[in-house]
């Protein structure tokens, strides 16, 4: 198990290097336009070249990357080209906002998915049909539309929740809850749908397996078969999808934070990308890649722990 974990960590590190290097390489094509926008009206061939040398962007990508990666290892991601704010200070406050939306959304949608998926798989009939209809609706309706309908109905027309803006938990917990309600519902909608569908599918597959029949012939109750056996065997695949959904929710934060004007990671990324703020963009990439690799690593380890067969490695 330890060897398995070490191998996965090493694998993750290699992935991190490849993906962040590729991103830096792709970004390097737009260095000129980034500096052009920083210089504004003073931009010309000479001033761009001078500033490029000044910022060290005239060096080759491998050299730039080596320097950046050394910084990552020391916890230093550089500073914004535009505000001078260190990246390691700029990111956490924005992430806190995003996490306070993504976290509750993830928990709520996972609970809904488990409940709906297990119910649909074990009841069948009209319960299953209704649950499947709900899942399909979650797929069908784009996130953006849900956000807009929620804002129009509950914020603009009914005035129950603020349409936009964010209050931090420390400032006022009640206002915080009000400010994240609509974004959380929006996120949970699509997330719950795909996870519930997965839980339902795996549970149906498990309940059709031979060992379930044998357990029945031993007089084990239906409830024990569903909870102790089928659900436990479904945990691995379900966990994988839960992890992927968590990553997807971070991606959808980019849209949802804009609609609700939340000052989070998504809004920040968007503004930074418009400016082409290279050090911050690389910092965001490092975070995004790290998140994906970290979540996948946790899923792998959890799956290894859940599955007796995989524990041997």
């Amino acid at each position: 198990m330890l060897l398995f974990a070490l191998r996965r960590v090493a694998f993750g590190l290699v992935l991190f290097v490849i993906v962040s290097f590729t991103t830096m390489f792709l970004l390097s094509f737009s260095f000129d336009s980034i500096i052009g926008s920083k210089l504004g009206s003073a931009a010309n061939v000479d001033s761009i070249a001078a500033m490029k040398a000044d910022l060290g962007l005239d060096r080759s990508v491998p050299v730039l990357y080596a320097e950046w990666f050394r910084g990552v290892l020391h916890g230093d991601l550089g500073a914004s080209f535009f505000t001078g704010e260190p990246v390691t200070e700029a990111l956490p406050s924005r992430l806190a906002v995003t996490l306070s939306v993504v976290g509750p959304a993830m928990i709520i949608s996972a609970l809904i998915a488990l409940f709906l998926g297990v119910l649909a798989a074990t009841r069948g009939g009209w319960v299953d049909k209704t649950a499947q209809g709900m899942m399909l609706t979650g797929y069908l309706v784009p996130n953006l539309l849900i956000a807009i309908v929620l804002v129009v109905v509950f914020a603009v027309n009914l005035g129950w929740f603020p349409a936009t803006g964010f209050t931090s938990f420390a400032e006022d917990p009640a206002e915080w809850a009000r400010s994240i309600t609509l974004p959380v519902i929006t996120m949970a909608f699509g997330g719950a749908a795909s996870m519930a569908n997965q839980v339902r599918g795996t549970m149906i597959d498990e309940l059709r397996k031979d060992y379930v029949r044998t357990l029945r012939t031993r007089g084990v109750s239906a409830r024990a078969i569903v909870i102790r056996h089928a659900l436990r065997n479904s945990a691995g695949p379900a966990l994988t999808v839960f992890g992927l959904t968590f990553i997807t929710l971070f991606g959808s934060a980019l849209f949802i934070e804009q609609v609700f004007a939340l000052p989070g990671f998504g809004t920040y990324s968007f503004n930074v990308a418009l400016q082409g703020d290279f050090p911050v963009l690389m910092g965001l990439t490092a975070f995004g890649v790290g998140l994906t690799i970290g979540v996948n690593l946790l899923i792998d380890l959890a799956n290894g722990w859940l599955n007796p067969k995989a524990r041997q490695y």
Partner: protein, 598 residues
């Protein structure tokens, strides 16, 4: 060496014709499916409207006129009104359809082409498997949405470039589907046969493998088309990309900001986006049902369904342990009528007696066994008859009552030992669970009993096996464990469904001996389901021969072997003799077929 190639070439040839057949069938089913037809027509309507974007409206999508600002619906020349900048909403809506379709086409076709190629190469050629897998993992690690935004300086705001990048990000999804299918197919015998007979790799990939992966890939592509449209709209809503390009997302954003002045403007693009996206998802769903067959249905764990007019007969004691009379089991056809697979089966088993239930596969013997145990699949319906166990009618009994009987009076040994153990629990915990359910013993007592049983069924190191997981023991050991679990509560009746078929020949005899010993010890009645007359001759006091869901002959084993009455029985017995004649050739032929060489 020329002779062996002939028989293997036949299936390879036969299979080349099959995909065309399948495709024709799939298309026919598709046009009969209302969901596919309706959603397909919706998509087609959108395409046509998009193509007419320069014909229907009077204005260009970016033509802004002061007098058209916020015009209401139904204004002359502006059927859907004008937006905040004085542009024709209808014109922008129709052009947005084209933007959406182009986005879908770029995103989905890149994912399709790259993903399919990688999947075929990675799945078929062993030497490329690892690098391709790495490539897919790397693509999957890119933080998708973030990357699209981070690379804005690079794409320069052209949505087509953005969608091309998005297409690459979608690639791993298609790749995994194609690779898994390809790995599966390339292990098939007919592919091996084609390879051996000199068909080139390219031809095998194109002819045999592509035809198998085609269905799932088409389905996945439909979904990707929808998600590409959704992502493009989302990005346009954010303002990523050129303002010149009309898009649902940009229109929603414009209309939304204008909501207090002209509240209806965001509705048109929102509805269009919702309907188009929905049509793609539902069309994909319909495609999946056609290509991959209907998905497995959810089912409730419950007592077997009985037919509407079913009425269990009252139990009248004949003294037998198990008395099955006129049992009928049916499955519902797609059109709703019941097709009986077990047709009026009657059996009798006395204490201490072993009944062999013999027949070819598909003769209904396993269905009969499941019917007696009450564990038929949910689709099955009991149509008639009676099952009396120790004087009690158990057919149609409620689940709670059956649960009490199971484990204590009636027990079951399955055919395939490995799949009948839960892989995530130790052998010990599974045995203890069953013992506690049927006897109500404490955990410690149940463990003691489980260890005793493991020893009794001939497991050399009970302590170790108790702690082992199913994958850590052999098939023969697993079957002994299952026998231990079945006989733990000293049942009166044991139903064994081909208990030796999945085992090595050397183990088969031991398992039969074990069953015989346990029977002598506990006085159980046994129903032994088998297709093997050797096993019957070896272990059964009487036998029932089944064919086509009916019992065609019953009697004491000795009598039936000496003087079979039914032609089918004679034929089955005759086929053993035939095999005997080739036995001098190689006894291993019998062994390989799972026949008992004795």
């Amino acid at each position: 060496m020329s002779t062996p190639t002939a028989p293997v070439a036949v299936p390879a040839l036969a299979l080349e014709d099959e995909p065309a057949e399948v495709r024709r069938g799939a298309l026919q089913r598709l046009v009969r499916d209302p969901q596919a037809v309706i959603t397909g027509l919706i998509i087609l309507t959108f395409v046509v409207l998009g193509l007419l974007a320069n014909v229907i409206p009077q204005h260009g999508p970016n033509e802004a006129r002061f007098e058209a600002i916020n015009l209401p619906i139904g204004s002359p020349d502006y059927p859907l009104g004008g937006d905040y900048a004085g542009r024709d909403i209808l014109a922008r809506l129709l052009h947005s359809i084209n933007t959406a379709m182009v986005s879908g086409l770029i995103g989905a076709s890149i994912a399709l082409v790259v993903g399919t190629t990688l999947g075929l190469v990675g799945g078929y050629f062993n030497r490329f498997r690892t690098p391709v897998e790495w490539g897919a993992t790397i693509l999957q690690t890119f933080p998708g949405m973030l990357l699209l935004i981070v690379l804005m300086p690079l794409t320069g705001g052209d949505f087509r470039w953005t969608m091309a990048i998005f297409g690459f990000l979608l690639t791993p999804g298609i790749y995994r589907i194609v690779r898994n299918q390809t790995v599966g197919v390339s292990r098939e015998l007919y592919v091996d046969a084609a390879r051996v007979s000199g068909v080139t790799d390219m031809r095998i990939l194109g002819r045999h493998i592509l035809s198998v992966v085609r269905g799932p890939v088409i389905v996945a592509t439909t979904f990707l088309f929808g998600s590409a449209i959704g992502v493009q709209s989302g990005l346009a809503y954010l303002g990523v990309g050129s303002k010149e390009i009309p898009s649902f997302g940009a229109m929603i954003s414009d209309g939304f900001r204008n909501i207090y002045i002209a509240p209806g403007q965001y509705i048109w693009p929102a509805v269009a986006l919702g309907v188009l996206n929905g049509a793609f998802v539902l069309f994909g769903n319909a495609l999946r049902d056609t290509f991959e067959g209907s998905q497995p249905k959810a089912e409730k764990i419950t007592a077997t369904a009985v037919a509407d007019d079913f009425e269990a007969e009252t139990a009248d004691g004949t003294g037998a342990l198990l008395e099955v009379r006129d049992l009928g089991i049916a499955y519902r056809s797609p059109s709703g009528e019941l097709n009986e697979v077990v047709r009026g089966v009657s059996l009798t088993v006395r204490m201490g007696e072993t009944l062999g239930l013999v027949g070819e596969s598909g003769s209904g013997k396993t269905q009969t066994a499941f019917g007696v145990l009450g564990v038929l699949p949910t689709e099955a319906v009991v149509t008639r008859g009676s099952v009396v166990l120790a004087g009690r009618q158990i057919l149609g009994a409620p689940q709670a009552e059956l649960n009490k009987l199971r484990g204590s009076e009636i027990a079951y040994i399955p055919q395939e030992p490995m799949s009948n153990l839960d892989p995530v629990y130790t052998i010990g915990s599974q045995l203890v669970e069953g013992i506690r359910v049927s006897t109500g013993l404490s955990k410690a007592k149940a463990k003691e009993r489980a260890l005793e049983l493991l020893e009794r069924v001939g497991i050399p190191d009970p302590q170790r096996t108790f702690r082992s997981y199913p994958h850590e023991i052999s098939g023969g050991m697993a079957q002994r464990v299952l026998i231990a679990g079945a006989v733990a509560p000293k049942p009166k009746l044991l139903i064994a469904d081909e208990p030796t078929t999945a085992l090595d020949v050397t183990v088969q005899a031991d398992i039969l001996d074990l069953l015989r010993d346990l029977q002598a010890e506990m006085g159980m009645g046994i129903v032994l389901v088998t297709h093997n007359f050797g096993v019957v001759a070896d272990s059964c006091t009487s036998l029932a021969v089944m064919q086509g869901g009916e019992v065609v002959e019953t009697g004491a084993t000795i009598d039936v072997f000496a003087q079979p009455q039914h032609p089918y029985t004679s034929m089955l017995l005759g086929s053993i003799l035939d095999e005997d004649t080739i036995r001098d050739d190689s006894a291993m032929v019998l062994v390989a077929d799972g026949k008992d060489p004795r």
